[in-house]
Amino acid sequence: MIELFGRWLVRKLDDRLRLAKYARHALNHVFPDHWSFMIGEIAFYAFLILVATGIFLAMFFNSSSAKVVYSGSYPALRGLQVPASFDSILHISLDVPAGLLIRQMHHWAALIFLAAIVTHVARVFFTAAFRRPRELTWIVGVTLLLLAVANGFIGYSIGGDLLSGPGLRICYAILMSVPFIGGWLAYLLLGGDVPSPLLTPRFYSLHIFLIPAAIALLLAIHLGLVWRQMHTNFPGPQRTNRTIVGSRLWPAYMAKSLGLFCILSGVVALLGALVQINPIWIYGPFDPTAILPGAQPDWYLGWIEGAMRLFPALKFRLGLLIPDVFFPAVVLPALVFLGLYLYPFLDKLVYGDDSDENHNVLRLPYQQPFNTAFGCAAFVFLLVLLFGGGDDVIATATGASVVTIRGILRVLALALPPLIFAMVYLYCKNVDRRHATVVEPAAEPAPEEPVRQ
């Protein structure tokens, strides 16, 4: 019965749109099977969860920062003057059925979204999947990472709570430290010095309209490019630059991928149920004179926070004042993202790859010693900075003084990356030499021309 109706519907559509050819190509589209190719999918599905839970939250969120008297069900804050945004989040969390679950799922999905993107970027980097013809996919992907970081920060900053407030103060300081246009940026994005009544409506609009729309658009382009150019393969039998090996979309790949979506949703629901995240009623509303000790940003901004702590106090002026946070919080992130954007072109220089050949077979990490060593060194550098972002917490936990911890981390930040680079480079060279004596890839056979119907 359902099948009959389905056939009828599809026929009627096809009579009007001539879809059969595309449908056939789509059903037989091949995706390679490898666990590491699922990481990007996790990011995509986390975005879907974010949109679904976010729509629910937006029904209740009040973006006004006007003061209201809290009268909800949390006794400790009753009668206190709080921003309306803070009040509405407490309402969602404590008084709306399933509200707390959806809100915690939203925050956990955001962390998983970022973690999946970062891991996906690492996978693509360490297998050189960014090479021709996929430079554009890479550039769109790095932009997606940038947008995800921005929207994550904006998302946890619109609560009007005491944990995010100082983060916004720091954000203001960073924006102000941008040369020449700093003031314009700060007033455009934050509406002026924090706390500004303009900030929450502006951030809310960015958080739910502009940035998600940009992410959705770029995601569509990203996936469209992956679809059109087809996925890369790891080296293996019958895997050449002219062929692709994997499961068909219908039925096996679709079932696996939907299964992954469901498992991810399950994990997010489990985290939302069991692991409390950002309980702003415990922190209380933002008060510009108060501050929470040991406050940390979400992990994907921890490296910038760490750089701000580890960077030494420079006392010099170049005619104009160079603000303290300019180098660690403006120059460093700009360099990191510039490096990411330009890496496909740097790779061409490093490996002398100026041919017009398309690369559809991945490199294994040991086959590209420079890239692997560089990537590991950069990763370790960012990891040390991330630890630097929690130096006070480490000091409290270990009993050492912050000064000691900071000194150690400064040394590590400078010494570890070159050390890691040298070790990884030599290791890869060694593995490569051993493999080179064993495997000699055969010349690519001329592929059969695909049957075109």
Partner: protein
């Protein structure tokens, strides 16, 4: 009646027992199909070549799992349904956060496991080898497209003047789009340098009382504001008192009557509230990034990432012992920006 029973023979013998027995038989049959412990598994379907395929490679031996696969998939689906029912029951009965989340996790998790096991153990698991489409146009195709573009352009009459006018129009509309951003607010040139304190103002606490010479014990600190700006982030000032014998006899000695000091409470590093006063070392410490400032030396930074001193507020006490501002901060308060004026020397004896 007899004709009727011939048409529908079961109607005559209807009994609840019969229906129940039929249901049991159906359930057993479904269970036997789903859980093939009692029946041998059907041979797996073979995948055959389809569009664009060059070859098919077997991926792994899937048959070993087939025996269990169907049962596992069925269990996953059942778990998922149970989770969904659990969610509905909990939701309509008070919506406990924990139970809602757990049932939702079981619902999604069961479905996900069922789908993945279905795909990996039961569906034909062959790797299709396909030729990739070459993603570039032939020279002839590219030239045709280019030729059509220029052909169309040639067909546009009077494109010299009118074309440039079209471009100019778009430019002006773009100017509208850009200038609309002005409504979002421009940095008011004066706000960053606007004075906070005026000479003679009281130092007011958030409860409205003015600080006096007897307000603080030695080694304690409070937050004060100018009278008109109570609670204002940029105006927050820390008023603290040290032992008079500690006050150095430098150019700023007259700013600290009876060991009272006042500094901007906004960190010059990243703008956090400088919330801690370490009495024994006479340091103001910012809890955000652990910058420390020496109270007795014009709040010069002694550690951490801050490079500029906290702006100091000169103080004096009037005849009846009320503390008053002796002027404005030494520099505009808050984190640095490129056109920030230099901090005056602390005048201290280093």
């Amino acid at each position: 009646m007899s004709e009727d029973s011939e048409r529908h023979p079961q109607a005559a013998h209807f009994s609840y027992l019969q229906v129940a027995w039929d249901l049991v038989k159906t359930a057993v049959r479904l269970a036997r199909e789903a859980f093939p412990l009692f029946t041998p598994p059907a041979p797996a379907m073979r995948e055959t070549k389809r569009l664009n395929d060059i070859d098919l490679q077997p991926r792994r031996q899937a048959a070993a799992h087939q025996h269990w696969g169907a049962g596992l998939v069925a269990t996953g689906f059942l778990l998922s349904i149970a989770g969904a029912l659990g969610f509905l029951i909990v939701f309509w009965n008070g919506a406990s956060h924990l139970l809602l989340g757990l049932s939702l996790a079981i619902c999604f998790g069961g479905l996900g496991v069922a789908l993945v096991v279905y795909a990996r153990w039961l569906m034909p698991d062959m790797q299709a080898v396909q030729a990739r489409e070459r993603l570039f146009s032939s020279a002839a195709q590219a030239e045709l497209a280019e030729a059509n573009f220029y052909q169309g352009a040639e067909e546009i009459p009077r494109r010299g003047l009118l074309g440039w006018m079209a471009v100019a129009t778009v430019g002006f509309i773009a100017a509208i789009a850009v200038s609309i951003f002005r409504s979002l607010g421009r940095p008011p040139a004066g706000a960053l340098f606007a004075p906070v304190w005026q000479r003679g103002e009281h130092l007011v606490r958030s409860d409205g009382t003015a600080a006096r010479l007897d307000t603080l014990e030695r080694g304690s600190a409070i937050i004060v504001f100018p009278p008109e700006k109570i609670g204002d982030e940029r105006s927050q000032t820390v008023l603290l008192r040290v032992d008079e014998s500690l006050v150095p006899q430098d150019a700023r000695a007259g700013w600290s009557p009876h060991g009272y000091y006042a500094y901007s409470r906004v960190c010059t590093h990243a703008g956090c509230a400088v919330g801690l006063f370490e009495v024994t070392t006479c340091l103001l410490v910012c809890p955000c990034h652990q910058s420390s400032f020496d109270v007795l030396r014009g709040a010069n930074p002694t550690g951490g990432p801050a490079a500029r001193p906290l702006p100091q507020l000169p103080l004096y006490a009037d005849a009846d012992g009320t503390l008053r501002a002796g002027g404005d901060f030494t520099t505009p308060p808050g984190p640095g920006f490129w056109s920030m004026p230099p901090s005056p020397p602390a005048g201290g004896t280093e």
